[in-house]
């Protein structure tokens, strides 16, 4: 064999080093207890009250959107349900999740609008509204670029008057039409200069050319070569077509600006740098990662069909499971694990020690990953999640069983242990990878398609499969190879688990090592 000499010791060391790094990261995060789910530690219960008399289907739609929002990023495992036909109740694990109220309640009506009048920019937009405005009412349906561009050239007198009457900042109750993408909009943008001085720019905007429902995708990302975060949005075909017309018209006209408006307030007033902008664009601003992610999530999951009272009721709720359940579950899991270990020791004898060590290492790695993911991805451990991890013990042990049975089979064919370990590994490895791919697929799809508890369970399942593979490849296999050098194992002693008696063969192996 021309391969470099296999050094199991090095692999072992590298794996243990990796484990050390994992726990180093956990120590940096400084949290040694995993975040527990709603059922185990309670959480925050947010009650939203609908304004007016929404229909049952509207409420249910709102419920779904809110469900997507709170469960859309990370693994929050929130429960969302409707109460008494007018409240939407959101239960989120963790007592201090009031920060999610905003995400839950946000309307997130996005509109890209063309600027008709403005006191900020020079040129046509600044002068257009000094006159009385057009008398003829041109209808401006949302999503029609041609009509919006025409309206911009000749805004109606009614709206010019509104624009001229408004002073920035607009105080008090915002007018109703702020939320209507089919109507023009008078609005102010707050501009903060480097000294912290606030100034305002006043705009008269056309009806929205592109709305939130035209979005295909919204994703938080970072600008290349910059620290600022932005939200990249991709438009659907129809929206992209309309936006393409606007970008062509505005770019031809001295790279004019347009406005991206969220819930009636301009969040960005970019100028058109290219005439062929259509499908992909982005919203920038002084955003951090959290803000950008939040905005992207809100945009992606659309506007709520129901308006909710601004006053939300947030309460702290206790765990929904009795305290003894977790203890009972853990005790049961412990007993089960103990029995599994006992079985492995009795059946595999010396090799059983390898099983115990591998299971222990897998448990430690899993715990570390759970801690790390609680901190970074909002992963919470629910009772089903814990059960999932305990179940994974069986599947983890199976990888050793496949491997050991292969070694035995190879030895039954007359190979010595040291040879059998290597040739058995080649075959066991293939089987194990194929089988693990199936497990990973199921975990991945549970995670992608499900919400709430199932999502978390899929996550736990996938996590344990990956850890299992890592332990098998980088710990169990090198350990067995390494142990195969020792007489206790390759000598065929009674306690090694590989004696001729345990194998059930009486065949004396070639080479005389029996």
């Amino acid at each position: 064999m021309a391969q470099p000499k296999y050094r199991p010791g090095r692999n072992l060391l590298a794996f243990l080093l990796g484990l050390g790094v994992l726990f180093g990261l956990v120590a940096l995060a400084g949290n040694w207890k995993p975040a527990l789910g709603l059922d185990l530690q309670g959480g925050t219960r947010i009650t939203l009250t609908a304004i007016g008399n929404p229909s049952a289907s509207q409420l249910d739609e709102a419920r779904q959107i809110i469900d997507n929002r709170v469960n859309g990023s990370g693994v929050n495992e929130a429960d969302v349900f409707i109460q008494s036909g007018r409240h939407v109740v959101v239960e989120i694990p963790g007592e201090s999740r009031r920060d999610l109220i905003d995400v839950v309640q946000r309307q997130a009506r996005l509109g890209m609008r063309v600027i008709a009048c403005s006191d900020a920019t020079g040129g046509a937009a600044a002068t257009r509204c000094s006159g009385p405005g057009a008398t003829k009412e041109v209808p401006t349906p949302a999503g029609d670029a041609d009509k919006a561009l025409a309206w911009r050239e000749a805004p109606t007198a009614e709206w010019v008057a509104k624009y001229n009457a408004a002073t920035c900042p607009i105080t008090g109750e915002l007018p109703e039409e702020n939320d209507d993408p089919a109507k023009p909009l008078v609005t102010c943008q707050e501009i903060e200069d480097p000294t912290g001085q606030k100034t305002y720019a006043k705009y008269l905007l056309t009806a929205a050319v592109v709305e939130g429902s035209d979005l295909n995708k919204a994703e938080a990302g970072q600008e290349p070569n910059a620290v600022d975060w932005l939200v990249e949005i991709r438009l659907k075909d129809a929206g992209a077509k309309e936006f393409g017309k606007v970008s062509a018209a505005l770019n031809a006209n001295n790279q004019e600006q347009f406005a991206i408006v969220l819930d009636g307030a301009p969040i960005s007033v970019p100028s058109m740098q290219s005439g062929s902008l259509s499908r992909v664009s982005s919203i920038t601003g002084n955003m951090g990662q959290a803000e950008a992610t939040e905005l992207a999530t809100s945009l992606k999951y659309g506007a709520l069909p129901v308006a909710f009272d601004k006053e939300t009721n947030a309460e702290t709720v206790g765990p929904s499971l009795a305290g003894d359940q977790l203890t009972a579950g853990l005790i049961a899991g412990g007993i089960g694990l103990g029995l599994v270990m006992l079985f492995c020791l009795v059946y595999y004898r010396g090799l059983g020690i390898v099983v115990l060590a591998s299971l222990a290492v897998a448990a430690i790695a899993t715990y570390g990953m759970v801690l790390l993911l609680s901190e970074t991805a909002g992963f919470t451990l629910t009772l089903p999640g814990i059960a999932g991890l305990i179940i994974a013990v069986g599947v983890t042990a199976d990888s050793f069983i496949i491997f050991f049975e292969r070694i035995r089979d190879e030895m039954r064919d007359g190979k010595s242990m040291r040879v059998a370990v290597e040739s058995g590994w080649v075959r066991a490895k293939r089987t194990r990878i194929a089988a693990s791919v199936v497990s990973l697929l199921s975990a991945f799809i549970l995670y992608i398609f499900a919400t709430g508890v199932v999502k978390g369970f899929g996550f736990a399942l996938g996590l344990s499969t990956v850890i299992d593979l890592a332990v098998l490849f980088w710990f169990t296999k090198p350990l067995v190879s390494w142990l195969a050098h020792y007489k206790f194992f390759n000598g065929g002693g009674r306690m090694s688990g590989l004696s001729t008696e345990t194998l059930g063969t009486d065949l004396v192996t070639a080479g005389g090592k029996a």
Binding site: I82, A328, L383, I390, A435, A443, V508
Partner: protein
């Protein structure tokens, strides 16, 4: 142990073998009966869906003292509500709110029954003057969740079928694996219906996890089948015999994996059923326990059987069968032709009387 491992060796070299594949009708009838009983129990005793699917009633008991709104009194209320004996109230969710209120959620009850439950709650709190407000709650697991889960399962099945097909280069293995999977799922649902455990998100989770495990287990067995049948012309075994040998050779693994996977589940199931009243732990453990047991069973009895059945029409398989038969016939005709031993160096010499190797040991 020695005796058991002797069986392991015999199973491996084919000296002893259990005929999993041979008796087609017998195994089909047995599995058909089990699946039939499972289906029947679903029809006779439909699944009992929990509050997450059907919606229900929420009772809010406000203005409590901090002792009344504690975790321990929540536990007492939970027990008291479960003890009222209505199946709809068998698994209540009881949580504390802000240290001054309790929330109790159960499935919908008649007015009369609802009154009994409220009285039980107040009795457990030791104060019958408390205010109980009642409101409806919707299902948190609506149609959308079901649709998405359904879509997920569909996507998963398609991907897995393609994966097994590309890995084994044999679409019939995909089909056999899916048949075994359906077998496992039907049995699990049947046990759920028969036991009357409520179908909760935890139970559904368990069922979904079975999808992965069932196929995982089948893939392991199929891998050995492929290995044994890859060079059929060399081994001179018929396809059915080679498959049967593979199943026997992996039997020790199947049994061991079954034991190792079922022990922790059994412990959880036992503890949660015996010590705790209702719990999502119990629901999850039951679906997993039954599903895993069925998964091991089907990977031994169902999947290889179906595979052999499907393959029996292929030319290569028919030819191999013919060769194997001819070989057996020749052996019967000329008993000496079959026993031409292959000599190797260091081959042990067997003592004729004891059957044990001479010399060493």
């Amino acid at each position: 142990m020695g005796k058991f491992s002797r069986i392991g060796n015999d199973l491996y070299n084919g000296k002893r073998s259990i005929d999993f594949v041979g008796r087609r009708t017998l195994w089909y009838v047995i599995t058909g009966l089990i699946v039939g009983v499972a289906l029947l129990s679903v029809i006779v005793k439909p699944l009992h869906f929990g509050i997450e699917f059907t919606g229900g009633t929420e009772y809010r008991i406000s203005d409590l003292s901090s002792a009344q709104a504690s975790q321990s009194s929540a536990d007492e209320v939970r027990a008291a509500v479960a003890d009222t004996g209505f199946p709809e109230a068998a698994s209540p969710t009881v949580t504390t709110v802000n240290n001054d209120a309790l929330l109790v959620q159960i499935e919908n009850l008649s007015t009369e029954e609802s009154k009994t439950v409220q009285e039980a709650i107040l009795a457990a709190l030791g104060d019958d003057q408390l205010q109980v407000s009642q409101s409806d709650v919707s299902a948190s697991w609506g149609q959308e969740v079901a649709q998405r889960a359904g879509l997920g399962v569909l996507v998963f099945l398609i991907i897995v079928v393609l994966f097994i097909w590309s890995y084994f280069r044999e679409w019939k293995m995909s089909v056999a694996a899916i048949v075994a999977l359906i077998h496992d799922i039907v049995i699990t649902i049947g046990v759920y219906a028969a036991s009357g455990f409520p179908v909760t998100p935890a139970a559904v989770t368990g069922l979904l996890a079975i999808l992965g495990f069932s196929l995982y287990d089948t893939v392991v067995v199929f891998d050995k089948i492929r290995e044994n049948t890859a060079e059929m012309s060399k081994t001179r075994l018929s396809y059915a015999d080679a498959t049967n040998l593979a199943v026997n050779q992996t039997l020790v693994r199947s049994v061991n994996t079954g034991i190792v996977a079922l022990i922790p589940l059994g412990a959880i199931l036992f503890v949660s059923a015996a010590m705790l009243g209702s719990s999502s732990l119990k629901d999850l453990a039951l679906s997993q326990f039954v599903g895993m047991a069925a998964g091991v069973f089907s990977s031994v009895f169902v999947a290889p059987r179906v595979l052999v059945h499907m393959k029996s029409g292929e030319t290569a398989v028919i030819q191999a069968d013919r060769r194997a038969k001819a070989r057996a016939r020749n052996r019967a005709a000329d008993p000496y032709a079959a026993v031409v031993p292959e000599y190797r160096e260091n081959m042990p010499v067997y003592d004729e009387k004891s059957g044990r190797p001479e010399g060493r040991r």
